[in-house]
């Protein structure tokens, strides 16, 4: 099972919708994925370790071993399809950070 983390702040609803969109898109591609949403206000100690991809809603993480993508397209909805496509490609063809 692939593991994706979406981490951000108070944009909780936006992150939940993004997680649902990513999950649905992966299912269509036959990718078994678990998408976790994390509010950094609840505990900024999260390191992003143990995920196949980390998506940050604003610049936060450093030195991750897995690919790190910006979740900004989920907020403005501009470029959201391309971002989801990029996530799917990365899950199909894993790359280091």
């Amino acid at each position: 099972m692939k593991k994706v983390l979406i981490a951000g702040g108070l944009c909780g609803t936006t992150m939940l919708m993004a997680a649902q969109n990513v999950t649905e898109a992966c299912e269509k591609q036959g990718i078994d994925v678990k998408v976790t949403v994390h509010n950094l206000w609840e505990g900024a100690a999260i390191t992003g370790a143990g995920y196949d991809i980390v998506i940050e809603m604003f610049p936060y993480f450093e030195n991750l071993s897995c690919p790190l993508l910006s979740g900004k397209p989920f907020i403005g909805r501009i470029g959201e399809k391309q971002l989801i496509q990029e996530i799917i490609e990365l899950l199909k063809n894993p790359k280091e950070a």
Partner: protein, 377 residues
């Protein structure tokens, strides 16, 4: 105590001397002040003494003081209490008021009152000329805050009040942010109503005051009790009221010293910000501002990651923005001041306190430098 607490505009720690004054009223002096037996009368006397202490500080009479639960209740009682009593239909306020006033304004509009919300200039000041342009003889009340909670800008209260009175309107001011640093003498400042709360001046949360000048009539919001002259029903929060009075007593003794220290701290912060940080806009005005509060915006940066990383570094500040579940909206105050779009989302308020240390300005600016470099990378 955690690392660096610089969010005193949001709330202040309870001063140990205030807590000491409060404790008996949580313990052996728990009696209801409305009770007629001697123990109850002694608690009533403590309430009376607290009222006198606060009245002396404000230079008004004790009968002109209503104890409330805090600034929000005082603001609501002032605005709605006056507007629903007088026959006139117009209410005027400003775009930068606290939400307690702005929500009451929305409510009045829904009830059919006519409301005017005055603009502010780029430094957050209300223009007396703008008030003069909008006020008329059907105006019942004008409400303009004494000092803004986000930028610290001090409004020309006396001039605004004079204009209101010239047109036969009453004048209310939300002094929640001003009371801790500004001299408030209600024999000189002719406002008709004034709100403040205890937890901004090292007193407890849960207590506040509405001053209402003799002759002003109010429709109560809390009904069902003879307390506060039938204007605010409900058994009094004695311990917090006594604590608030003690906080006022300490403020009377220490206000000038506190102001001098707060001024130095905010001036030092500006020096360090200028030295270390780039693409920063200072939203707090250079003059007519309360000491100790600096609001600034950073170009091309979101406040949220700044706040999380500051929090992780042990620095507690405020991003002065309204948060809802789907996004972080820029502050209505900074929007009213028309802070540029590429700055407004990266706004931060630093508000020092009486116990802040001289090293904090440098520590904060240094940490901000690291965080901004990381975010802008």
């Amino acid at each position: 105590m955690m690392g660096i607490y610089v969010d005193h505009s949001s709330t202040t720690p309870v001063d140990p001397r205030v807590l000491e004054a409060m404790l008996p009223f949580y313990q052996e002096q728990f009696f209801n002040p409305s009770a007629l037996y001697p123990e109850g009368r002694r608690v009533q006397a403590a309430l009376g003494q607290s009222r006198q202490t606060i009245a002396d500080y404000l230079n008004c009479s004790p009968e002109e003081i209503i104890f409330t639960s805090g600034g929000t209740e005082s603001d609501n009682l002032a605005v709605l209490g006056v507007m629903e009593r007088l026959g006139k239909k117009k209410f005027i306020t400003s775009k930068i008021e606290h939400h307690a006033i702005l929500s009451a304004t929305d409510y009045l509009e829904q009830k059919g009152f006519s409301v005017v919300v005055l603009p502010v200039d780029e430094y957050g000041f209300v223009s007396p000329a703008e008030l003069e342009k909008n006020i008329d003889d059907d105006t019942a009340l004008v409400s303009i805050m004494w000092a803004n909670n986000e930028t610290g800008a001090i409004q020309p209260i006396e001039e605004l009040c004079e204009i209101a009175h010239k047109h036969g309107a009453l004048f209310h001011t939300d002094a929640v942010q001003a009371i801790g640093t500004q001299e408030i003498d209600l024999s000189k400042t002719k406002v008709d109503l004034l709100s403040f709360s205890s937890h901004k001046i090292y007193g407890p949360k849960g207590a506040g005051v509405l001053f209402f000048r003799k002759g002003v009539e109010l429709v109560p919001r809390n009904m069902g009790g003879q307390q506060e002259g039938f204007l605010r029903g409900g058994t009094e929060n004695v311990a917090c009221i006594v604590g608030m009075a003690k906080a006022i007593e300490l403020l009377k003794q220490e206000r000038e010293g506190r102001c001098a220290k707060l001024s130095d701290l905010s001036d030092d912060l500006l020096v360090w910000v200028e030295k270390l940080l780039q693409d920063v806009k200072i939203n707090t005005p250079k003059v007519n501002r309360i000491p100790g509060v600096i609001n600034m915006s950073f170009k091309g940066v979101e406040a949220e990651p700044m706040m999380i990383l500051l929090g992780a570094a042990g620095i507690c500040a405020s991003m002065g923005a309204a948060c809802n579940s789907s996004s972080v909206e820029p502050s209505h105050v900074l929007k009213a001041m028309q802070v540029p779009a590429d700055y407004i989302r990266g706004s931060l308020r630093i508000s020092f306190g009486k116990d802040s240390t001289a090293e904090m300005p440098e520590q904060i600016a240094t940490e901000l430098d690291k965080i901004l470099k990381r975010i802008r990378k």
